[in-house]
Subunit: 296 residues, 4 copies
Amino acid sequence: MRIGFIGLGHMGRGMAGSLIKSGHEVTVFNRTPGKSADLEAAGAKVAADVGEACDGDAVVTMLSNDEAVESVVFGRLGIIDSLRKGAVHVSSSTISIDLSDRLAAAHADAGQGYVAATVLGRPNLAAEGQLFVIAAGADEAVNAVAPLLSAVGRQTTRFGVKPSNANMVKLSVNFLFASVMESLGEAVALVAKGGIDKADYVEFLTTTMFNAPAYKTYGELAVSEQPAPVGFAAPLGFKDIRLAIAASEKLGVPMPLLSLLHDRFVELMASGGEHMDWSAIGKLAQRDAGMLDLAA
Amino acid sequence: MRIGFIGLGHMGRGMAGSLIKSGHEVTVFNRTPGKSADLEAAGAKVAADVGEACDGDAVVTMLSNDEAVESVVFGRLGIIDSLRKGAVHVSSSTISIDLSDRLAAAHADAGQGYVAATVLGRPNLAAEGQLFVIAAGADEAVNAVAPLLSAVGRQTTRFGVKPSNANMVKLSVNFLFASVMESLGEAVALVAKGGIDKADYVEFLTTTMFNAPAYKTYGELAVSEQPAPVGFAAPLGFKDIRLAIAASEKLGVPMPLLSLLHDRFVELMASGGEHMDWSAIGKLAQRDAGMLDLAA
Amino acid sequence: MRIGFIGLGHMGRGMAGSLIKSGHEVTVFNRTPGKSADLEAAGAKVAADVGEACDGDAVVTMLSNDEAVESVVFGRLGIIDSLRKGAVHVSSSTISIDLSDRLAAAHADAGQGYVAATVLGRPNLAAEGQLFVIAAGADEAVNAVAPLLSAVGRQTTRFGVKPSNANMVKLSVNFLFASVMESLGEAVALVAKGGIDKADYVEFLTTTMFNAPAYKTYGELAVSEQPAPVGFAAPLGFKDIRLAIAASEKLGVPMPLLSLLHDRFVELMASGGEHMDWSAIGKLAQRDAGMLDLAA
Amino acid sequence: MRIGFIGLGHMGRGMAGSLIKSGHEVTVFNRTPGKSADLEAAGAKVAADVGEACDGDAVVTMLSNDEAVESVVFGRLGIIDSLRKGAVHVSSSTISIDLSDRLAAAHADAGQGYVAATVLGRPNLAAEGQLFVIAAGADEAVNAVAPLLSAVGRQTTRFGVKPSNANMVKLSVNFLFASVMESLGEAVALVAKGGIDKADYVEFLTTTMFNAPAYKTYGELAVSEQPAPVGFAAPLGFKDIRLAIAASEKLGVPMPLLSLLHDRFVELMASGGEHMDWSAIGKLAQRDAGMLDLAA
């Protein structure tokens, strides 16, 4: 397929690379220049503007928030203006339900396809084409981009024809990850202050009833004496929690644990979290128990 | 080994059965009579009192709470009075850290061994000898009862020489299970009220980042339209949350998620939870969102 | 003074009436017509559009949310366009800190004064000119509108020259009111389920350590068997809680009680709160304890 | 009246002094000696043991917790053993509902009267006889000790014939006080980090809608740059929160704000709260916002 790719952060670069490796013809664009050298070397064409990235069968956006997506989609020479009829916008960013619904309507008006295809996995999995893809949209549009989706992920799970379903699932999963961090963080603080070796404890959990990637990844980070490298920045995690809250408010779903996680992110931000990995919320319980210094 | 077994509830019967199947010589006792017929048929001797169950190399207690354990351990003709020097009390009940520490001291004074060996797994795994065993105590005592532990579990994980470590780990794991129920319950309420099929959603989670027994078991229960059969009664789950709170208070570990779960159990109890499975707390979010009737 | 008044809801009508009674020359405007008959009879002039209401020394806005204020301030023929240089916009609506800051900047650019003058008190106090006024803004501007402020309130308290300070104080006070409702609601549920007469209980509190209007008003509503008449609608209260959360996020102030109140409002909205008074959150504890039916 | 008084802490000494000033014949006793010199100088007789303090018409207990009360009431030569039939035990300690119920039963069995008469007010009010008294018990018994109650308080409010009602009201009021501290603490952190003078802010609140002693006392402490002198120690406040939780669990009343306060006390205890006034929980929000150092 001829594919445009907009947004070359950690995740975007990995995904674009996987598309190239799978033999697709890829044109990349990033608002801030200087992120495309490796991809160019691997065979990507570099677009000078959004419009140039919209000259194929599909254009993927992988951007950090609603504002960034709005800025490349709407307005003069944005995606809506530039994409040909019948081509598909694949939105992989973690954005609000509201924006996803507005994108669906705008693309429908413009005769373009729109698929929300959010992904699970850290940047290394993106680069290996091993993400879990969560896709929703009209069958025709999703089918059209199936080769694209299978190039970035090991598996595509479809959640119906309403695109924002994929955004909802993604937000809910980030809520579940944060819940894992918080619960593990509290459990580790308790047993460790009680004298139990915390690494042994997490090893036990993740080889018995909690032997899932979510627990392995965040368990290891919770017990590490080092600050985690920033794979997913805390402010972005906080943004996702706020988007989930907005969805819960709109739908009328009381979610007290979600609110607790919100508080934890506010605490983290007030404690230097701006430059930390989001998994740092899993160390707040140990910090509050007087067992470690977050910043150390 | 010659083993006494006190406490023939769902878990206890399964564990005692596994001991018999492994060739141990087992004498069972239950305060309320009439629970031992199957075990007797399988080869167990039935004791008339606690003392008779203490006439071997080890005695296992699997009872519902601190009070029950205290009543069979202390006092005239209890375990302390009856067990010979050098024999070992294996305490598998989920009890408080404080009581476990007191048991350790009392058995040491009496020249008896004491091992806390708590277990993970529902009654069916107990009957199959497939529990996960969490053991702590003096090496000599734990080694002495190793054949017993390997008869009830697929794996024994040791957490040092302080017996109450095993109780602490057990309490923390029940906290983690309840956290899974709450987080899944909220996530399911959110996506389902947003129009996503909740069974598909849980299927997706448990085949990707959350593919662990904890999520499979409680995910299935969270989306079921039926009340869960009572495998672990809500009042017992509530008791364990209170024991974890007591431990966190004593150690000085703030655990806001633990408190949230406490509130959920109070809510459940005020909503007919007395006779429900503890997993019903995973349906409170759906109830509060107006999506289901707990009692139905 | 010659004063325009925009926004004739419960509070706005009362305030405009107090201005007329104090001898000011008042021109009123409401986007939805049909709310000005009484005021016209009392001597107000009725404006046909926003611009006509901006033809005096000051214009007051008392609207329900950010969007409503933005719609009358910005854009063609809005307040910015219409108010003469040196005249003052008195913003009494409960709006976000961000919007208040933007209004301050926009009026400064246009050579107009801007005072945020939020108020405490229910509609009856507005009609009697007995509100508590919280004012912030440049001294010159606040001094210029002092006669206006003293016509609507029994007392004006100034909080510095940054207008949004008045909005911050107002949001914090609504947070405190909601905290009173929640705490009283829980306390009443506890003592009443324990067998104590709840009206006696509130009478005791409000004649001893809690003898303040906040407790008298919300205590009476908490124990009433009737739903409260809608003086301040729950969706507006919820909006204010969300604005306070936005402020706390921006400033980096963790506020767990604020989050708890947020959850309560989501619960209320999911339980038919759309058409209730905001004090209904003070009955959720009794509802959850199985003691009353919210809707009854 | 001839009155025994057991428990000479800050509150007890003040109350005993007020009884003496009112002309009662008072015999005091404290388990730790050396606290009675001032009272002896003022005319009190000093008892050598509990029994000696029980030789009159009534005996008051004002002790720090359940354990202390149990130790002087039950057992050989305790109050039950020593008080004559028809005399009244006035229990002013903040104790559990359960213990109060057990005391009622035990005194009834012994033919003695039992009145729970808890009090509101700090030690200075105790010394001035200006407490608010909350009394419950059989009419005959409460009437018999009315002169005693009116000597220590400015007002006695009766809550029925079930003595533990007075304990329930007291626990609920301490919950309300802690709610005031938490809500004010969060509000002060928010407005102060936003640039508003916090003393002005509290002054405004406590002269308008929140002009009650609870807000004046705890507002002043929340904005003070100094740690509060220990009037009521944090561990005692924490104990009362736990007693309230026990009552709410037993009655089935979900109280999420009560749980939040519990977490705050655990946090405080993990941050050196052992030796602080309980009002320090009102500074946690400022601490978490990076605005002050608790210990400073």
